[in-house]
């Protein structure tokens, strides 16, 4: 008889403890950034330089977001647009030069479920690039034109000397 109450008691106790368990904090992976690496004009080595980069969903850069402000680096992580967007423009300024380059990134977006706490993230497909060539000598897309993991470099930019 006593044993039975112990069992029932255990069931109720476990009910309480389990009911508190919630995973509301997002620790999953988010939407990946586009990884761009700067190289020298012959593409033999990475080339770090002081760069200022602004992003905008429109070509007129009416209200740009500053991604990097005079940062000395050879690799960039560029955020692309939301679910309904298919184009993002980046304005690159090398050191304090007056002439700037515009890099255009076209893509298809796809939403992907991560977890209850994180919701969905966006992955990008059919990436293609175009740019102006003031300080950019050439753009070289990497093999993959899919962006799911930002540790993989998607684009190499050759800067002029």
């Amino acid at each position: 008889m006593k044993k039975r109450f112990w069992v029932l008691g255990l069931i109720f106790c476990s009910l309480w403890t389990v009911s508190c368990e919630e995973d509301d904090v997002c620790v999953g992976e988010g939407t990946p950034f586009l990884t761009v690496v700067m190289r020298n004009n012959v593409g033999t080595a990475n080339l770090a330089d002081t760069l200022t980069i602004e992003a905008s969903p429109t070509v007129d850069f009416a209200n740009p977001d500053t991604i990097y402000l005079k940062v000395f680096t050879d690799s960039l992580k560029l955020p692309l647009g939301g679910l309904d967007e298919s184009q993002t423009f980046f304005r690159l300024r090398r050191r304090s030069n007056a002439d700037r380059d515009i890099l255009t990134v076209n893509y298809q977006t796809k939403s992907e479920y991560v977890s209850k706490a994180c919701g969905f993230r966006i992955t990008y497909e059919d990436l293609n690039y175009s740019s102006s060539f003031n300080h950019i000598e050439a753009i070289e897309p990497a093999e993959s034109n899919v962006l799911e993991n930002e540790t993989i470099t998607n684009l190499y930019i050759r800067l002029s000397n």
């Binding site: 109720f12 009911s19 919630e22 209850k116």
Partner: protein, 238 residues
């Protein structure tokens, strides 16, 4: 907020366990019952069945109570048939409409769920073998319509940047329930049948890769284990 229904359920179950323990003197005859059963093998004239039931039908009273406090709406009915000695086959059928509105999600579900399984009586009352404590298991399957009115998308960092939505889609989910409960006669052919069930989520047919956040018959905040309570009023047909 989330605990409220659980507090109520625990209270309710406790009340009923008290009820059962009030009949302690009759339940504690079980040891003698065993002896008598042994005797009955030798003594064929002796019949241990004084008042026992084979077929029970019932409805759940817990969900209507819970629906007063939460978004959950629906009901559940069950049928139980004594197959062999302490074994009862049980089928349950329910409908539930529920809503998930947390962590930037907004999901509506509604649909039917079916549960098939058995109850095995651990101890039975000698006077009425329908009274007693039981344990059991269920296999449960829910087929329901899910509408994702809003889902969060994280673009940069750890904040929600925008929202999307999916139209209604028919999905399904299945899980296993472990049952522990008691049945006790209230009046004439009416019995109270109370059980508590740890539910173990097994799998589902997903919409856009989205794990179910609310399943009719299973509940909200889908973890590996949920709990549900059945607070049934059953009627003995024969």
């Amino acid at each position: 907020m989330k605990r409220l229904p659980i507090y109520i359920s625990v209270l309710v179950i406790n009340l009923f366990t008290l009820r059962v323990s009030a009949q302690e003197d009759s339940v504690s005859i079980e040891s003698q019952t065993l002896v008598r059963e042994n005797e009955s093998v030798t003594d064929s004239i002796f019949s241990p069945k004084k008042r026992t039931g084979n077929l029970f039908i019932g409805v759940d009273l817990f969900n209507p109570v819970v629906s007063a406090f939460t978004d959950k709406r629906g009901g559940q009915a069950m049928i139980s048939y004594k197959v062999y000695k302490k074994w009862n086959a049980v089928a349950e059928l329910g409908y539930e409409k529920n809503h998930y509105d947390e962590l930037n999600w907004n999901i509506d579900v509604n649909g039917m769920y079916f549960k098939l399984g058995f109850n095995w009586f651990i101890s039975q009352d000698y006077e009425d073998a329908s009274n007693g404590f039981y344990t059991g298991a269920r296999f449960a399957y829910a087929m329901y319509e899910q509408t994702v009115n809003q889902y969060p998308i994280r673009i940069s960092g750890n904040q929600v940047d925008e929202y999307g939505s999916f139209p209604a889609e028919n999905v399904s989910a299945y899980w296993i329930e472990i049952v522990g409960g008691a049945r006790v006669r209230l009046i004439s052919n009416f019995y109270a049948d109370v059980s508590i069930r740890p539910e173990i989520y097994v799998g589902s047919k997903k919409q856009e890769g989205l794990d179910p956040l609310v399943i009719p018959g299973y509940g909200k905040d889908i973890g590996p284990i949920n709990f549900s309570v059945f607070w049934g009023l059953t009627y003995k047909l024969f």
